[in-house]
């Protein structure tokens, strides 16, 4: 008779472990976009680079299908010296360029995608690490 509570505890522990195991993939599936403050800038940048189709023109490490050969490859970007041949490669300059590529370089093939401020910060963070 005295064994019963022990068994109950084990059950409860098992149940809790099961719930945690279930919750981990559910939580892992949920990092998302612009507004979600829990998402890291690097992850936000990775999603933004994908969703703004940057890979149709650029080669970018870590982005699926990003093998375009229209613009310069963004592989090893952190060590690049200049942006588009006209701006020193600093985070501030990259943000400025992404916001209006055709203002920085008139006649530029690179279009002005509608990027949010956090998305731009995300792309800067992502490229700074790759």
């Amino acid at each position: 008779m005295t064994e019963r509570p022990a068994l109950g505890t084990a059950h409860r522990r098992g149940g809790a472990a099961w719930l945690v195991a279930l919750a981990i993939p559910v939580a892992a599936c949920h990092p998302s976009r612009e507004q979600d403050r829990a998402v890291s800038f690097v992850r936000l940048g990775q999603i933004a680079l994908t969703q703004h189709a940057c890979g149709s023109c650029h080669r970018i490490s870590g982005i699926q299908g990003a093998d375009g050969r229209v613009g310069p490859p963004l592989v090893d970007y952190a060590r690049r010296r200049m942006i588009a041949g006209v701006l020193p490669n600093t985070p501030v300059n990259l943000a400025r360029y992404l916001k209006a590529p055709r203002t920085v370089v008139p006649g530029n093939m690179m279009p002005q995608e509608a990027l949010g401020d956090r998305e731009i910060q995300g792309i800067v963070a992502y490229l700074g690490r790759h």
Partner: protein, 181 residues
């Protein structure tokens, strides 16, 4: 000594039944929406994204017809192609120096820019992509509502894109718009 037949048959039967039950359970997980969420605000897992994309590439390559119309890349063809591209393509795919509509980045999969398309796809594959469309991407089967000639005009414009400057593309758009009026 031969093993008796009965246990082997029973074991085989049990194995098949187990596989069947597991397959049904997995199918039930998907059909009930527990194992898959269709919401497009989350990217696919890397494996699934790779598998879907691989399937799409292989299918287009396999099913593209060998003999498709090819038009000369002259001014008349490009003007006609530009007029169609303006109506049907530019919102989702943008153009040289032209951004896609702002809401397109919310699509999953998101439509690509096409300046590089003629390097990724053969003439027949481009024709097939536009003519037949692509399931589960939002790409319409334009062949359902267009003549073969119109499809060939769009293909011609896309194939001419990497030979244009953004300014020339803008001029072509203006000329195509002026001709429509």
């Amino acid at each position: 000594m031969r093993p008796p037949l009965r246990p082997i048959v029973a074991g085989w039967f049990l194995g098949v039944m187990t596989c069947g039950v597991v397959a049904l359970l997995v199918a039930a997980l998907f059909l009930s929406g527990i194992a898959f969420r269709v919401g497009a605000d989350q990217p696919h897992s890397k494996l699934l994204a790779w598998a879907i994309h691989r399937t799409m590439l292989s299918s287009v390559r396999r099913h593209a017809r060998r003999e498709v119309p090819r038009l000369p890349l002259d001014r008349a063809t490009l003007l006609a192609g530009a007029a169609l591209y303006e109506q049907r393509c530019i919102a989702c795919h943008g153009g040289p120096g032209i951004a896609r509509a702002y809401w397109v980045s919310a699509m999953l999969p998101t439509p690509p820019y096409l300046v590089d398309a003629s390097a990724r796809w053969s003439h027949a594959e481009l024709y097939a992509l536009i003519h037949d469309g692509v399931k589960m991407t939002g790409m319409p089967a334009w062949g359902e509502i267009s003549s073969d000639r119109e499809i060939a005009q769009i293909v011609a414009l896309i194939e001419a894109m990497p030979m244009m400057t953004p300014d020339q593309f803008a001029q072509l758009r203006r000329a195509a718009a002026a001709r429509r009026r």
